[in-house]
Symmetry: C2
Subunit: 208 residues, 2 copies
């Protein structure tokens, strides 16, 4: 059976929702990230990166959200979470996931995780990074709203792994200081996601 290590309100929420959408049998394992459980030797033995998600499979452990999402989609084909039989459509899904992981999530991380890039002693640099997060996240979501989002789901009529991934990151916007008014498509998407049973189950899990 699959096992997913996650933290509430982290990017692992995307993988949790995908598991629920797929109807996968899995065990969720919650990490106490406020107390840095992800940095303990026990967890670093599971994921040396000290991050979530980590998806334990019978073949080994997978990390990185684009990989866990596509793996769940490919191993649960009935849920039709990614168009593996159409290389261009699948590449569009991959491109969206790559933009989220390399640009959008990274923009967000400059708020609280600035020490990934500058030394902890560089307080002014950490402050400058944090101060600019509303601008960079707004720019990312303008790109999504205006150039990428097809509607009603990210890729159009078919719900895909892009949807829980966008949802997880869009859930951070207000706390990142972003004015969401210019992003009605993304905001309607977020509301539409909240109506899904998969999302309700994951929200109940993370808020428990």
């Amino acid at each position: 059976m699959l096992k997913l290590y996650y933290g509430p309100r982290t990017i692992a929420v995307a993988t949790l929702i995908a598991l629920e959408e797929a109807g996968a049998e899995y065990e969720p394992v919650r990490l106490d990230m406020a107390n840095l459980q992800q940095r303990t030797p026990e967890y670093l033995a599971i994921n040396p990166k000290g991050r979530v998600p980590a998806l334990v499979t019978d073949r080994g452990i997978l990390t990185e959200t684009p990989a866990t999402l596509a793996y769940i989609a490919q191993t649960h084909p009935d849920a039709k979470l990614a168009p593996f039989d159409d290389p261009f459509a699948f590449a569009e899904v991959q491109s969206f996931c790559a933009y989220l992981c390399s640009t959008v999530h990274v923009a967000h991380a400059h708020k609280m995780r600035g020490t990934r890039w500058v030394k902890e002693s560089d307080k002014a640099a950490l402050k400058a990074m944090k101060a600019n997060v509303p601008n960079t996240m707004s720019a990312c979501f303008s790109m999504i709203e205006e150039e990428m989002f097809k509607g009603p789901w990210v890729m159009g009529s078919q719900f895909t792994i892009c949807d829980p991934y966008l949802f997880a990151i869009a859930s951070w916007l207000e706390a990142d200081g972003v004015d969401v008014t210019p992003f009605p498509l993304v905001m309607e998407h977020r509301s539409r996601m909240h109506e899904r049973d998969s999302v309700k189950r994951v929200m109940a899990m993370q808020n428990a």
Copy 2:
């Protein structure tokens, strides 16, 4: 026919090598990135992100290296550049590509592209980011060397899209101020890549 917009010594080198490995018919289109051709209205109409690579296909334009690489692999199955028929093995490929795009490339970008995250007027923050690049890139390559690289190719005996992707980024190490001595596996891999005809052709192209 495919068309690839690239810049010399950028991450687009990975996609160029994959196209050569696949035996794809394509037209390379070189951008004058020193003069910011990637920011012209003409190019922004092709890729609104103002980045490379952009792969023009008969169905539309693809961006983001993990997506262009997997697309080339899936549409040129004889080259066996990704194990699409083995979900776990494919997820390992995806996980490696996601780590490169979200963590390693991002660490590197803090040297010259700091204005992606702080304002141009924050000179001290830009300097602090740049100064720390040797440390963050070293940490990334320690993770690759010790935890990820299987050898002789990234995923073991089979050459995959992970190889040109790693090669493109590993080519930046010395200029990033990284001491490469602790990474013998990655350095041997880089040398081994230089011996391939695909890489020789791409090196000749970018140095022309």
